[in-house]
């Protein structure tokens, strides 16, 4: 069994090696007719661009993606600069007519995204042409190796039960070199995904056939991300099933997040695209789904007929009615650790890192400031967006709606939720985003704290203050501080993962939904069970 496990690790690392190596594979060039077709498809009118691209990438040989990207970006820049100069010139001459004409030649979009689109057409080589083989060497070996590494645990972990042996002795789970390597890898991945998609175009080639078969379109970097997300969650869910095979709550919860990720976040939206409907994840509630009320989204939905209207109503009802009502009955766990995609990744890929979240009072203070600041940010931004949508004015109080949207998308949507939110798993624990950033979690938290039937019940005086609950709380809640006083845990940040209850060696904690009265039970003094003294103290 140990041999299988170790060979699994080797196979996984080989797969990872191929995966990383794939970035550097292939050559990128276009034939004249391909470029012409591309320019026509995009309706670019800039002759400067045509010339520049012809010189840069047509019938050239042996361009790797980095060289290709650099040339393409330069070509776009050259074209835009050319027209900028002309705009400036006509401006000076006060030749408004000519100035106005120039704008049609300008090309908007992020340079690396423009380069990505062209690279999708220009790629040749192993990834683009021998896709099946390369898929097997990267995804295939990765999945196979990971499963070979994980499945022997059924035997190796021994009898079912909590098996956290060596968690803090391992370099992978205690911020050792493996943890730091994972950190660098994850952060790099998110930086590439969000800001340099063209550099990972070879990875997208690997999933093109899958994308074609689902949505009928070739894949984008977002399809790659979605596919990778589902794959990673599935493989790591196998690990959860084995690790918590004695715990039905964990098994059901893992199955639920996996289902919602694969069906709701991945398959349904892609299938909607196949039927020429808007891409929409039905479980992704505003304000986590922060661009739901952006003008472009509202316009797309409103122009998609009855179905678009249905999405608009559903999305609004989800946030305003369904989410709070469900939180009232079940706590925010129904969303955060049973449905949500971010939560799903945190609970599968992130589970090995849950013990790394900080439990200090200081981090709690930061948490409350930051997460509520993000909530305020998203609400202000959304009110700007709605104002813009209804009034048509591009700015509110002198601030451009587009600018505030861009800032949010960059700082919160990409950097916080992605690069930090997931990249920092191996350092700050799995729920970094959910704990410090997610505005939906902040919203659900208010309801959970003030109007909900959910609590974690503390079982009388059985707590021995061992600290397993606090240590394994991914949200950094000092569970023990409550349990050792006999108090129930009612905290806005609790996502109800149930692991505190699972790791408790004395059966002290139970997640449950019950009557609101007595949910919060401040006990000034806990004398196990001496009723008289309790009364004495409480009546003083």
């Amino acid at each position: 069994m140990k041999v299988i496990k170790q060979s699994g690790l080797i196979v996984f690392l080989i797969g990872l090696g191929f995966f990383i190596g794939t970035i550097f594979l292939g050559s990128f060039s276009l034939k004249q007719n391909e470029l012409d077709a591309f320019l026509q498809e995009k309706q670019y009118k800039s002759t400067v661009l045509k010339g520049a691209l012809e010189k840069a990438v047509v019938n050239v040989e042996d361009l790797n993606i980095f060289e290709f990207s650099s040339r393409v970006r330069k070509a776009y820049a050259t074209s835009n600069q050319y027209y900028d100069v002309r705009i400036a010139k006509y401006n000076k001459e006060k030749n408004w007519k000519e100035k106005g004409k120039q704008y049609q030649y300008k090309i908007s979009g992020k340079p690396h995204s423009l380069s990505f689109t062209l690279a999708k057409k220009a790629g040749k080589g192993l990834a683009a042409d021998n896709t099946a083989l390369m898929w097997f060497l990267t995804f295939g070996l990765g999945i196979l190796g990971a499963l070979l590494f994980i499945i022997p645990d059924v035997i190796l972990l021994g009898k079912p039960g909590i098996k956290n042996d060596g968690v803090f002795l391992s370099a992978a789970t205690n911020r050792g070199w493996i943890g730091w390597f994972a950190f660098v890898f994850l952060v790099s991945f998110y930086v590439l995904l969000y800001f340099y998609p063209d550099f990972i175009v070879n990875w997208v080639f690997l999933v093109d056939p899958i994308s074609l078969s689902i949505s009928g379109n070739p894949g984008s970097q977002w399809f790659l991300y979605g596919f990778l997300y589902c794959t990673v969650m599935t493989v790591m869910a196998v690990r959860m099933y084995i690790k918590y095979r004695h715990n039905k709550y964990q098994i059901l919860r893992t199955t639920s997040v996996l289902f919602f990720q694969i069906v709701f976040a991945f398959l349904i939206p892609e299938i909607l695209v196949r039927f020429e409907k808007p891409w929409y994840d039905f479980k992704n509630a505003f304000p986590l789904d922060y661009d739901f009320f952006f003008r472009w989204n509202l316009e797309e939905l409103l122009s998609s007929g009855g179905f678009g209207l249905f999405i608009l109503v559903w999305g609004t009802v989800l946030t305003v009615v369904i989410v709070p009502v469900m939180v009232y009955f079940f706590g925010k766990r129904w969303y955060c650790s049973w449905v949500c995609g971010c939560g799903g990744l945190a609970e599968t890929l992130g589970d090995p890192y849950r013990q790394l979240s900080s439990k200090t009072l200081l981090s709690w203070k930061f948490e409350r400031i930051i997460i509520h600041a993000v909530l305020v940010f998203v609400l202000v931004m959304t009110s700007f967006a709605l104002y813009t949508f209804f009034s048509g004015a591009n700015n509110v109080l002198g601030i451009k709606t587009q600018t505030i949207q861009d800032v949010y998308g960059f700082l919160i949507g990409s950097i916080f939720a992605g690069v930090i939110g997931t990249g920092f798993y191996p350092i700050f624990g799995n729920r970094v985003w959910c704990r410090f950033g997610c505005p939906l979690a902040a919203y659900l938290g208010f309801i959970q704290r003030f109007k909900s039937r959910f609590r974690i019940t503390t079982n009388g005086g059985q707590c021995i203050s061992c600290g397993n609950c606090s240590t394994y709380c991914e949200q950094g809640i000092d569970v023990r501080a409550y349990a050792q006083k006999g108090e129930n845990i009612v905290r806005s940040s609790c996502v109800g993962c149930g692991v505190c209850s699972a790791v408790c060696p004395r059966g002290v904690l139970k997640l449950e939904n019950g009557p609101e009265t007595g949910r919060i039970n401040p006990t000034e003094i806990l004398l196990g069970n001496d009723v008289n003294l309790m009364e004495l103290v409480n009546n003083k």
Partner: protein, 449 residues
């Protein structure tokens, strides 16, 4: 200002300090030689096993003490001078007090075995024991085998610790079955099997004769009393119970027996000196409880109680109904009320027992066979609600009522399989009764809180 000095920074001493601080502005000093800050002794095992780091065993962050104006003094107390109201330290220092609380806990028992002080022999109680174990048994190449002497709760924890690093363990248990002085046979036998499942070499009916060493005084083997067998090993764990840690008190005028003698108000025979926790010995036992109870929660309760008394609200120590819990490798155990082993139960006490056909779950309910009164329950692999059982014990419910409402007391995580119908069916069959188990009711569960 009144100066309260507390010797010992375990759960008892620290709880007393916290509650005195809640209720007063008295000057408080906690003295400890073991560790700088309070930690949870029960969690030491998890540090060795890698579940936690030592810092995780500390329930309060390091700034807590200063913020709450509780002074911490590091030092080993050598003697208490009741005439001059001061304590002296090993290094010659002195500290005077107005009120003294002795909360020095326990120390592992040693029964005069030859070789019991050799290098490689240790208990599993203090922080220093953990540090020593990390040196003596970091892995199974340095430590090829460990022998554990004494089949109690600490013994099985030490076995679990060593097994987490794949160190072969021989476990010497004096009794004919694991912990059967406390547990009924059904449970004790289930644990025997479970211990062996974890590849622990369990030796029942086995006593230690002596521990042997090499020329450097390091443990090399042990000899078994009954058979004379020699077992090679590098580490010997002595886990044959604990006794009050009160050697330094013997020179004072404070009355001691096995522990520091206290009355119901936790007062010793000297005014302004109290003793709490494991080191305190009740002059008269409380109910069926032992005079000395080395249990986490009793230490905490005594700390809470003595704080009330010291802050002017004289309060008797009343621990209420007995309860406890433990974890034996993978099996959780809880008990509420009194369930004695076959050896120790009285004539009027009868068992109702249920055991899962495959899984390691079982319960024993003890009841009075004359009055049918429910006396206590042992539960293995099923979590039960403390408050409900406490209420039932106070109300002296009958066993049939307990079984009827058993679902209310279930504390297992959601979606777990429930066994109440099987349990009640077995009782009905054995006793020719017709009890219908009631569905769980939130109203009943929360009616008391």
């Amino acid at each position: 200002m009144e100066h309260i000095v507390i010797i010992g920074n375990g759960i008892s001493g620290v709880t007393a300090a916290r509650h005195i601080r809640k209720n007063s502005h008295k000057k408080i000093t906690i003295v400890s030689a073991e560790s700088e800050y309070f930690f949870s002794r029960t969690a030491l095992m998890y540090v060795y096993m890698g579940h936690l780091k030592f810092e995780h065993t500390q329930p309060y962050e390091n700034w807590f003490w200063k913020k709450n104006n509780i002074q911490l003094k590091h030092g080993f107390v050598e003697a208490i001078h009741t005439d001059s109201n001061e304590i002296t330290f090993e290094d010659g220092g002195r500290l005077s007090y107005d009120t003294l609380i002795i909360a020095t806990g326990s120390k592992p028992n040693k029964f005069g075995w030859p070789g019991q002080d050799l290098e490689g022999v240790l208990g599993m109680y203090h922080k220093q024991d953990l540090e020593q174990l990390e040196v003596l048994a970091p892995n199974n190449t340095v430590c090829n085998r460990a022998v554990i002497v004494g089949g109690g709760l600490i013994g099985i924890e030490l076995a679990e610790m060593l097994r987490s690093r794949k160190i072969p363990v021989t476990f010497l248990v004096r009794e004919s079955s694991f912990w059967n002085g406390v547990l009924p046979a059904q449970e004790s036998e289930m644990l025997n099997a479970h211990i062996e499942e974890h590849h622990i070499d369990l030796r029942l009916n086995t006593n230690l004769k002596e521990i042997k060493a090499d020329e450097n005084g390091r443990v090399t083997s042990i000899i078994i009393e009954e058979t004379g067998e020699e077992i090679q090993c590098n580490v010997v764990g002595l886990t044959a119970g604990v006794a009050p840690n009160i050697d330094f008190i013997k020179t004072s005028r404070i009355a001691i027996g096995r522990g520091v003698k206290v009355n119901r108000f936790l007062e010793t025979t000297i005014k302004n000196i109290y003793a709490i926790g494991d080191c305190a010995e009740q002059e008269e036992a409380i109910g069926q409880r032992r005079n000395i109870e080395a249990v986490w929660y009793t230490g905490r309760m005594m700390g809470e109680t003595v704080a009330q008394t010291i802050c002017g609200k004289k309060t008797a120590y009343k621990p209420g109904h007995w309860f406890n819990s433990a974890k034996f490798l993978d099996i959780e155990y809880q008990t509420y009320g009194w369930v004695f082993s076959e050896k120790n139960k009285k004539e009027n006490e009868a068992y109702f027992q249920w055991k899962h056909p495959e899984e390691q779950k079982c319960i024993t309910i003890s009841f009075d066979k004359n009055t049918q009164e429910f006396l206590g329950i042992n539960t293995f692999g099923i979590r039960l609600r403390h408050e409900i059982f406490d209420t039932w014990l106070t109300e002296k419910k009958s066993i049939s009522k307990v079984l009827e409402y058993l679902a209310d007391a279930n504390f297992d995580p959601e979606f777990y399989k429930v066994h109440e119908p099987e349990i009640v069916a077995k009782f009905n069959l054995e006793n020719n009764t017709n009890i219908h188990p009631k569905k769980k009711s939130w109203k009943r569960i929360f009616s008391k809180s």
